[in-house]
Every structure is written in structure tokens, then in C-alpha cells.
Amino acid sequence: MNRDRFVMFVNRIPLNLAIIILCAIWLLPTLGLFITSFRPQQAVNETGWWMALAAARPGTDEYQTYCAQCHGEDYKALPNADLSSPDLIAQYRRSIQLSGTFNREYDGVIHIPEAQRPDAQQTADILDHLRIASGLQEAPPRFTFANYKDVLVGYSARGGTYDEVCAADGPSGTRTCDFWTDATAPNAVLRGMINSFIVTVPATFLPIILAGFAAYALSWMDFNGRRVMFAALVGLQIVPLQMVLVPIFRMYTDLGLNGTFLGVWLFHTGFGLPYAIYLIRNFVGRLPADLFESAYLDGANHFTVFRRIVLPLALPAIAALAIFQFLWVWNDLLVALIFLGNNAPVLTYQLSQLVDSLGGGWHRMTAAAFISIAVPLLIFFAFQRFFVRGLLAGSVKG
């Protein structure tokens, strides 16, 4: 490296540092969620996610504090009481038995003086630690998929994971212990995900199809009032969603459409349309006129032209629009909350319910949250260009 470049490099350190710090601040919250969702419950409760790799086996600290000065770092300092021997540790099945030894006297010396004893929880952790050290028990994994499995089947009890409970107690109540059966139960996150797809896919394509037809007529057909129609349809963008909830809620109550997918599809279609018409018309209106002229001269009718020429050529605009609308519907909570509620809970709804109940702890809530953001993130990284374009163009959407 020559001098000039070195000076340049030094001069740019503050700039780079500023960017890196800002990026770190933006990334850390999501990273924390991601890492936590793969950690076992005990680890989540004991140490922060930033310690995920450093965190040692349970009870290490406690053993160090209370036992190591006599029994040694390697558990073998006292030959008559080798704490790494499975035979010895196997005698202590419960932590109460272990704390029973603290009162004993060895050669007239009390095992551990009253003031220096670990409390019940610490003793339990120490026992866990010794069982692992002696090979009686496997060390808990640093990372696990159990949280994901638990939320996918909607299992939220406190003691143990779904797999553990099924292995120990088998089916009970509504729990069948068959993954696919449980995963379609109403409170299962997998079911919510399926519902989200059922809501989102038609709610993405319906407005685009309707808007495609309207935009074609508005750009390539000749009729009175064309400009006014375009202005009126697109102008509806300014109506905010909150403004129509009350009447539509009442209308749906009368028609029995509350809690149905059809109701939500149509609602999202209505709200996606103005912007979709605006975007597609802008795009289709700019296609070269010759294209249409020669097609008409060849005797093609409007529908053929629409299907064979307009739709394929408008694909970039449609793609940006589809991604925008898909994410908008997928991430929506308000419409799903009001028109579907718990009749057909979608992912965002279930997540908000989990937050309310703190659904069995952070290890599971982070997993559920990550499932709900995984689809948008995938789409974001796969189609970043389209995504940014769609969102920017959509920034005036009502």
C-alpha cells in the first residue's frame, strides 16, 4: 500500500465506522430474534442471545463458586468422591438428595458450612452440570429446532418441548402428537401460515387482473369520459383504509361475510385497485402504438390483443405490483383482525395473540415471529429490485 492510499484509508475510517455502526444498530434487533428462535428455553432464560456461543453448560458458574475449591476443576481432586464418575452421580437422582450430603460430616468436618451452600435452584443446576460432566446426560444443544416445531403445532405449555412431552406422556386433550394433525389445529402457526397464503394469493392476483382490464380500456380504447374515469378511479387512492372499515364491517355482518376468505379477498381487491390501475395504465399506455395497429389490422380483437400482447409486455410492471401487493396483504394485521379474527387466524393475527399471552416464552415467540417474517424476507432478498421499485412507486398508495 503506498502512502497516498494509506492516508485515504485513514481519512475514511470515521465514514466507514459511522456506516458500520448504523448498520449494526439496524441489524441487531432482527439478528437477536433470529438467534433466539434457535436457542433452547433454558439458555434463553439464562443468558442473552449475544452470549449464545459463549454460554457454557448449565450450572458451570455455580459449580465454580460452590464446589470447585475442594472437588477441583476436573471434578477429581478428592479421590473418594470423584464427581465425574457416573456411578457416584447416578445415586443422586434428585437435587434434594444432593443437598442432603451438604449436612454430612466427613472426618468431623461438615461437608459444606450452612452459609456457603447453594440454594435449591442452584443445586439443581449443579446436579444437571454434574450429570453432563459424568456422561449420564447429554449436554443440551446450543441450538435447536424445537421452538419451531412447538409453534408450528401450536404447543405452548411450559414444561418441556412438544417432542419431549409427546415422548413422555403421549397424546392428551387436543394434542394428538401427530405432527400434521396438530399443525392444522386452530392455534397452530402452520395453520396460520396456510391461512395467510389462502388470503394473500387471490388478494394479490384479483386486483391485478381487474386492473389490467380497466387499464387496457383506459389506455387503448376510445370513449367519452376517458380522462374523467381515469382520474376518478385513481383518485380513490386517497381514501384511507380506516375510513371504510365501519360500513363494510356492517355490510359484512348483514351478508354473513364476516370471517370468510371471500370477504377479505374482495376487500383487498378494492383497496389494491386504484394504485394497480394507475401503475399498469402508466406502463401499458407507453407501449408503442404500432404494435396495436398491426395487430388490429391483422384482424385481432381487443381480447386477443390484451391477452397476447398487453399482458406479456406489461409483465415487469405486473411483477413489481404483485410483489408490493403480496407483501402488503401478507403483513396486514388490521384487515385480518377485523374481518377474519379468530375464525381463520392468519400469521400476523396469531403472532399478535401470542404477544398478548406471551405464549409460553420468548424462545417460542421469536420462532413464531421469524416464521412470519421469513416469507417477506425471502421475497425481499430474491427480488430486491422489483420490491424497492414497487414500494417506491407505491408510496402514494392510500
Binding site: W26, P29, G32, Q242, M243, A289, Y296
Partner: protein, 301 residues
């Protein structure tokens, strides 16, 4: 708009093509918007004027009673206050961070990566974001990273989300800034890129330092985009619902959440409609301004 002289069509063909869209728009947007306006002057089930909701010996605004309750009621005032806080923090906050990041990332080679990281929260649902930030704000320093930082620096860990209002609303606006900065950054970065290099080079040759360059050259040229960014953020902020709804702080309601509570939990259609109208009255001028601006920009291209 161009028309094709060669094309031939029946009189009704264009309307046939537009009919589905028109029908859906009338049923779902135009008609209900008008209904909401009417409901806001009526009682809870729309059977009589809002005046019947007046309590005896209390101030009464007749058919405007719903509006009186929205403005004078304790809940309504909290919602209005919090909406004001959101606007005051979110709009300048996202604009400043967006500008800062646009200008900074413009100068490094890993621009695309940095921008992707900042933009990523835009893809996440507000509910997901709320979970992420409840985790950050967790009172236990071995769970919440904010408290871990505070304790590492020698401070006391705190139950952040239990901060007294309106402090807790400020903590929620942090989430909003985290989400929307990617959006403002992208708009501003695009505008920044469109400033001709010659102008900047000429200023450098004249001996302007980087700060002067920014304040004298870039900022004036970016001003129109900053205006668009701020108006758009005003609209987005006014409509803010999910974050507040999911975080469920004490007295953190904004207009949109208050409206949904009235509608969904208390079945107060009239009052809920009044909130909706207040919201749209605030939004419409900004939107009209915004669409005009976009129109002007399109025409200039």
C-alpha cells in the same frame, strides 16, 4: 393519451372492460367512505342522530356529539396527543436518518449491502417488528439487549415499555423510525444520484469542503425530494396502527388504534366513524399535495 384511429369497438366494450373494477371500487371504497361520513353524525347503530348519545347535564354538540367525544373525551385527547408526538418524531426522524444514510452510503463501495440492511425492516410486518422490539426493550438484562447495554455501562436496568406516558410513545416511535428509514433513504439516495457530477466537481474545484458542499449544493437540490419524503411520511404516520396495537402500552393509543378499539371492542360505530373522519381530514390535504407533486415530477420528466 393517444388513441388509435384504426381500432374499432362496440359502444359498450370499454365499459365491459372496466365494469369489474368500477363495481368493486364503488362497493368497497366510494360508497363506504360516504357512509362513514354519515355514520359519524349518528348513534352507535346508525338508527338516530348522534345527539341521542348526549348525557344529561353534560355539554352536547347535537349531531356532532361523536366529534365532541372524540376531541373532549379523555381517550380521544390521549390519541390526539400521541398522534402529534408520532408526527413530530417520526417525520423529521426518518427524514434525517434517511438523508444521513443516503449521503454516507453514497461514498462507499459496499453501498448495496448497507442499503439492503437498512431497507430490510420495510419487508417485515409491523407485528413482527413489534415482537423484535419488545425483545430489545425487555426488562431482564439477560434477555433485552438494551438493558444489557445499560447495565454493562454501569446503569440500572429498566422496564422500558412501562415508562410513564408519553415517554412510552417515544420508545414506540423508535420502532417506526427503524422501519421507515430504509424507505426515506432509498428515495433520497435516488435523488442524490441524479445530481450531476459536474456541479459537485465544480464546487470542489472552487474549494468547497464537504460540509459546504452538502449544505450549499446538495441540500437545496434535494429539497423537493425531502418535501415528498416528509409528506409521505406524514401520511404513513397518521395511518400507523399495527405497532401501537401490538405493543399495547399504557395510554399509547393513536387515532387509528382508538378507532379500531371503538369499532372492534366497544362496537361504537358512530364514534369510530368520527375518528375515521378526523383521520381523513388530516390525511387528504397532504395526499392531494403529494399526488400533485408526483404529477409535476412526471410531467417534467
Amino acid at each position: 393519451m393517444r388513441t388509435l384511429m384504426v381500432m374499432r369497438q362496440g359502444r359498450w366494450t370499454p365499459w365491459l372492460y372496466m365494469a369489474p373494477a368500477i363495481i368493486v371500487l364503488v362497493i368497497y371504497v366510494a360508497y363506504p367512505a360516504i357512509r362513514t361520513g354519515l355514520y359519524s353524525f349518528q348513534n352507535n347503530d346508525g338508527t338516530a342522530s348522534a345527539a341521542v348519545r348526549c348525557a344529561a347535564d353534560q355539554p352536547c354538540w347535537g349531531f356532532l356529539e361523536n366529534y365532541r367525544q372524540a376531541f373532549a373525551g379523555q381517550q380521544g385527547q390521549i390519541a390526539l396527543r400521541n398522534t402529534a408526538i408520532w408526527l413530530l418524531v417520526m417525520v423529521p426522524g426518518t427524514a434525517l436518518f434517511g438523508l444521513l444514510l443516503a449521503v454516507l452510503t453514497d461514498r462507499v463501495r459496499y453501498e448495496a449491502l448497507a442499503k439492503a440492511i437498512i431497507f430490510m425492516p420495510m419487508a417485515i410486518s409491523f407485528v413482527g417488528a413489534a415482537v423484535i422490539w419488545r425483545f430489545v426493550y425487555n426488562p431482564d438484562p439477560s434477555i433485552g439487549i438494551l438493558n444489557a447495554l445499560v447495565t454493562a455501562l454501569g446503569g440500572e436496568s429498566r422496564a422500558w415499555l412501562a415508562t410513564n406516558p408519553p415517554g412510552n410513545t417515544l420508545l414506540l416511535t423508535v420502532i417506526g423510525i427503524w422501519i421507515w428509514t430504509g424507505f426515506t433513504m432509498t428515495l433520497l439516495a435516488a435523488a442524490l444520484k441524479s445530481i450531476p457530477m459536474e456541479i459537485i466537481e465544480a464546487a470542489r474545484v472552487d474549494g468547497a469542503n464537504e460540509l459546504q458542499l452538502f449544505f450549499r449544493i446538495m441540500l437545496p437540490l434535494l429539497a423537493p425530494t425531502i418535501a415528498v419524503v416528509m409528506t409521505t411520511m406524514t401520511i404513513n404516520t397518521l395511518k400507523m396502527f399495527d405497532i401501537v396495537w401490538v405493543m399495547k402500552g399504557i395510554q399509547t393509543d393513536v387515532i387509528a388504534t382508538r378507532m379500531v378499539s371503538e369499532l372492534y371492542l366497544d362496537r361504537n360505530n358512530g364514534l369510530a366513524s368520527a375518528y375515521a373522519i378526523i383521520l381523513i381530514v388530516l390525511i387528504i390535504p397532504v395526499t392531494v399535495y403529494n399526488i400533485r407533486r408526483f404529477g409535476v415530477e412526471e410531467a417534467e420528466k
